[in-house]
Amino acid sequence: MARLVRSWILLLILQSFLVSIAFGSKEVEEFSEALLLKPLPDRKVLAHFHFENRAPPSNSHGRHHHLFPKAISQLVQKFRVKEMELSFTQGRWNHEHWGGFDPLSSMNAKPVGVELWAVFDVPLSQVDTSWKNLTHALSGLFCASINFLESSTSYAAPTWGFGTNSDKLRYGSLPREAVCTENLTPWLKLLPCRDKDGISALMNRPSVYRGFYHSQRLHLSTVESGQEGLGSGIVLEQTLTVVLQPDTTSVERNTQPSWSLNSLFGRKVVGRCVLAKSSNVYLQLEGLSGHELKNVDSEIEAHKLWKNADFELSLKPDRVLREISSFLFIFDIEKSSDSEPFDLGLTWKRPSKWLCQLAPLHASRFLMGSGNERGAIAILLKETESQEKLNLTNGRCTIKVNIFQIFPWYVKVYYHTLQIFVDQQKKTDSEVLKKINVSPSTDKVSSGMMEMMLELPCEVKSAAISIEYDKGFLHIDEYPPDANQGFDIPSALISFPDHHASLDFKEELGNSPLLSKFKEKSSVRSYTEVLLVPLTTPDFSMPYNVITITCTIFALYFGSLLNVIRRRIGEEERFLKSQGKKKGGLKQLLSRFIAKIRGRPIEESSSSSELQSSVLSSKLIFKIILVAGAAAAWQYFSTDK
């Protein structure tokens, strides 16, 4: 036994040694945490949590991880995911007030509900299978109904409109997914410190979900090592973007509300996550007045920067970075402890107003038409007061706009009805449309997709794109439980491939993943609204009525049809004639009817039959009275208490 234990220990030591050699030769797993705070012009505050986890390339199978979540690495290995992004969002990003041009908004303004896209590193024929398996795995991992993206009617394979040019890309979104704390908890589990320590300890659920917008995002990409025999490394980026409304006690409406971390989240940072390589808090202030931009060289001036007539920070920033239109204050939370928690606060002294950088065009999408039959989807692009617009191509200033949208199959889009209006003038396709790629939907099999690239003149005031559709009929079992709500058309993605959102810092950056992310050039993107299409819905609450009416109609129809087919009237007549020679009563009865119809007095000959019929009818009346009396009596006695 002891020998066995000893050999075990030996084995373990050996293994850890080997592993450390394997990592020691290259890099080690790295984790970093960061929080970016940014006051917004409409008296709200944006908090952006950013966690990055890097697993370096290694060649060992079933390898051991120190920091990197095992679930994710298994996912990557199993489904051979090259790049993937999953986001859970609630609320709408306000492009006008919260910005649309900076990297923060173009990366973190996500469509409502769940959005998932993934690029696979498998042969083309296996991409769909991998996607389906991936959705199920993620569904289990994140407690969400991502598995509904498995159905081929709910995802699409964008070619170039999504931004990533790959034929192994799959994209799907679930606009109706309700996002709540059950999705956040598994997401937090992927962090080495969870929400116990470090910056993530700020994530007080009530505060996070009280916000106007929150979007949790998980982006992972594999990094090829480039070496033979070495696997690929994984970079896992987890972000949570929250827009919060600070509690305002001041009556004054013009001044921005003052806040502190404690007042925003109800918690304070009491220390860094010890496993993190770097843990920083950034505060970004936009649109500070011009005179301050000039003289920030000396130390005193820098001091002035965070404590001046306009505002005051409660803590001294460790560094100040300058960008074209904003300042970035950097705080290291390493010094904070239980006795001295890190509680950054911002106090506004004077009313100040500024504008966010807006995307070149503001996009909105809406439905046209009414009724249960036809309609149209329109996308309206409007000019904004954006600074950066100029892109000269062939001596002409143009804005390139990519539009990518998915249509569920029950929205049968007629692509030939595409109409483009620029500045309220109808344009032919060739004038503004650079590129278009359409894959029509197949009923109950696949969803439709449209990618188009517009080239609009820079001085454009507004552009509208409309496309007509028919509403399809669903089979009874295809309706969701709340069918009467209507059906969602996922958000369209509007991107500006020639406009790059990046923060251009003058100073040298430290080793901060968040800032290097911001410095990367990424195209400006924005998502439009989700649309709600009311479809014809059967009245599910009335199955009984439907069954009875259908059965009655069927009985009547088949009864008469069978009669027509089966009975031979002529034969029956002859048979009856031969049989009923003796009886003459009915003939007389009939003749009496006809006499009555003609309105003539009944002939004498029929008197006997009349007598008979009157006797019959009196009998009948007697019977009816008897039955009615019995019924009345029964009713009377049964209900009488």
């Binding site: 109808k426 989700v530 003749s591 009817f593 006809i594």
Partner: protein, 699 residues
């Protein structure tokens, strides 16, 4: 109908053979029995139909909230005095502004817009053109998509709507709720200001709350050109923008270009109006719900408002009623009879509770009559009608405050209660995950809290029209007999074609009706200004000329001499069939029209008989019959009926102005795309003409 014919044929076969047969199947026998005794049964059924109609107020059920998600009144109102004083402030500011600036431009709109944007709403202005109502014969039943911009835009007259949108903080922006306050910016009265006060109090609250899941749109509609038009223009722009250049944009300094904003699918709309002081001390809330062609919003919406208004805010809620019926003595007698019957039934079995007090019955009948009338007319009773065109449930709430407009103390309380009522309603609609679908869409109201559903009220109609196929069948048999007797030609005796001549005539007259229906469009195209009276005279003469032309075409005319043998019975049979089909079709489109039409058309059709033989016979019974049919035919003429209804409502008409009034009335019908107009032209008028033909049939 077809089944009846089949029984008829079976009967034919047997009698032709003259053979004794064994008993046919019971259903066949029943059919034969009904057809054979059709005079009796038609009287019984028609009487039962009228009786069932009179019984409807007794059969009305109490309303209930059908959709559980609505939960009206379950949340405590969050509206504070501060919000109400916000509303008072706006009203005061507008009043002051008006005193200083005499009705100039769009300044009041700007003021309201400023208030809205202070409440963190997105504000925009929309210009619209007061559009003249034009008759387009093919626009019936077409959607509102056929909205076209007029070519000549004049800057002299246009309206400006102010719209504010509050975005739901965590909502997904898929749905919205619309609040409308029609407001005359130029000469709005003191009471109109109060509606702005109520909604701005509410808006001030909604900009703070966190429970919103649907966006809220507040539309201040410029009611200078009527209440309906600005709302319809806004809805048209919301749902079917043209993306084309509108000259209207250049009209004013107010730049409205390209800032129209939307907020998803409209879930429900509430139109709030405050007007006139109520006669009573308490505030009266009137609910208007009828949209075009008798379409009603979901009953749940009315229920929620009614529940909150009565049980939470203490408003006196009412719906429209025909006032003249309240004092009618015959209705009182009917009510007392029903009350007595109810009492007797109650003594027999205490569980039979169908008797209601006579006073309540009269109230119910007056409301029912008003409901039926407004549904039958097919003209919306307010701006909510515009929403119905886009399948949005909407109602108009008209509040008549019980205090003079300058009473500050009560005004504050009024704002508080009014906006709490709206808050509760919005909160209920906001709770809805699905659109309104649980409760009834087909109903008539007999009081704000009582309704008659489609299953009950269609009994009256079904009984009324049930006699028609019976009588048609029996007349057909009759006519065939007569034809067989008169002609012994075997080729002409081929029985299934006997109705063909009559059908030709009926078809010809229906064609005439169709042409007459379309005529007003061409009369409107006649250049020059014409008074309504002249136009109606033009219409009348052209129609009569057409009628004469039709009558002279051989083969089509009911009086054509070639077929001297044409039996009036067969003609009447086909007429009745046509009337039956027309009524049944109309009952699908607009039930109330069909019901009132049946009340008029069924006795006329049933009693129509040639008067010649009646006069010849000089018997009292037949003379009486002839007289009755004459009277009914006279009443049945649309113009006469219109005059009688006007007289009943209490508006006297002088003979000459009748034509003009009638024309104006019809013009309003087609302007609102009312199917009643089509019914009058294509069902009622031809059937009436055919009845006249039968009346003067040379037999």
């Amino acid at each position: 109908m077809a089944a009846d014919n089949r029984y008829e044929e079976e009967e034919e076969v047997r009698t032709d053979d003259g053979s004794p047969i064994t008993k046919p199947r019971p259903i066949v026998r029943l059919g034969i029995f009904l057809v054979a005794h059709s005079p009796v049964f038609s009287v019984v059924f028609s009487a039962a139909g009228v009786l069932a109609l009179l019984l409807l107020p007794l059969l009305a059920k109490n309303t209930y909230i059908s959709e559980n998600a609505l939960m009206p009144g379950s949340a405590r109102s969050m509206l504070s005095n501060r919000d109400a004083s916000d509303g008072s402030k706006l009203v005061k500011d507008i009043k002051n502004f008006r005193l200083n600036h005499e009705g100039q431009g769009v300044e009041v709109q700007r003021l309201i817009g400023k208030y809205m944007s202070e409440m963190v709403a997105e504000v925009y202005y929309q210009k619209f053109q007061p559009e003249g109502n034009q008759f387009h014969p093919l626009h019936f039943f077409s959607g509102p998509a056929s909205y076209t911009l007029l070519g000549n835009v004049s800057c002299a007259s246009y309206g400006v709507n102010v719209v504010g949108i509050i975005r739901a903080p965590r909502g997904d922006g898929k749905e919205s709720i619309v609040l409308v306050t029609p407001y005359d910016f130029i000469n709005g009265g003191d009471y109109e200001d109060l509606s702005l006060g109520i909604v701005s109090s509410l808006f001030s609250l909604l900009s703070r709350v966190t429970w919103l899941s649907k966006d809220i749109i507040w539309l201040v509609a410029d009611s200078r050109y009527g209440d309906y038009r600005p709302v319809a223009a806004w809805l048209a722009e919301y749902h079917t923008p043209s993306f084309k250049v509108s000259d209207l944009l250049k009209c004013d300094e107010l730049n409205t270009a390209d800032n129209f904003r939307r907020a998803g699918t409209v879930a429900a709309a509430l139109i709030l109006k405050v007007d006139g002081r109520s006669e009573r001390f308490e505030d009266i809330l009137s609910i208007y719900a009828d949209a075009s062609n008798g379409q009603m919003p979901n009953l749940d919406l009315i229920n929620v408002v009614n529940y909150l208004a009565v049980h939470r805010q203490g408003f006196h809620v009412k719906v429209e009623k025909v006032v003249s019926l309240l004092s009618s003595s015959w209705l009182k007698i009917v009510g007392e009879i029903f009350e007595a019957v109810g009492k007797v039934a109650n003594t027999l079995n205490p569980d039979w509770k169908f008797g209601i007090p006579a006073a309540e019955y009269i109230e119910g009948s007056a409301t029912l009559a008003s409901s039926l009338y407004s549904q039958a007319l097919g003209i919306p009773t307010g701006p909510h009608g515009a929403f119905r065109d886009y399948q949005v449930d909407a109602i108009t709430l008209k509040i008549s405050p019980g205090f003079p407009p300058d009473s500050k103390a009560r005004q504050h309380d009024f704002f508080l209660r009014g906006s709490q009522l709206l808050e509760g309603t919005i909160r209920s609609v906001n709770n809805l995950l699905e659109k309104f679908h649980q409760s009834f869409f087909l109903y008539v109201l007999t009081s704000p809290s009582k309704f008659i559903s489609v299953g009950v009220y269609m009994i009256a109609f079904a009984l009324l029209v049930a006699s028609l196929p019976m009588v048609a069948a029996s007349l057909y048999v009759d006519g065939c007999k007569a034809l067989t007797k008169s002609t012994h030609n075997s080729a002409e005796n081929f029985k299934s074609w006997k109705w063909l001549d009559a059908a030709k005539q009926v078809f010809a007259l229906h064609l005439l009706g169709f042409i007459v229906t379309l005529l007003p469009y061409f009369i409107c195209q006649v250049p020059g200004q014409h008074s309504p009276r002249n136009r109606s005279i033009m219409w009348g003469t052209t129609s009569s000329l057409l009628l004469v032309t039709f009558v002279t075409i051989p083969g089509c005319s009911p009086f054509s001499s070639r077929l001297h043998g044409t039996n009036w019975a067969i003609l009447k049979s086909v007429t009745i069939s046509a009337a039956f089909i027309g009524l049944c079709l109309m009952s699908i489109i607009n039930f109330a029209t069909a019901e009132i039409g049946a009340l008029l058309l069924v006795p006329t059709c049933l009693l129509a008989q040639p008067i010649k033989p009646a006069l010849r016979s000089r018997r009292v019974k037949s003379l009486l019959g002839a007289f009755c049919s004459m009277v009914l035919v006279t009443i049945g003429f649309p113009v006469i009926f219109f005059a009688i209804t006007k007289g009943l409502v209490g508006e006297g008409l002088v003979g000459l102005s009748l034509g003009g009034e009638f024309w104006t009335w019809l013009e309003s019908l087609w302007a609102w795309k009312s199917a009643t107009y089509l019914y009058i032209g294509m069902v009622h008028l031809p059937c009436w003409l055919l009845c006249v033909c039968i009346l003067f049939h040379p037999s």
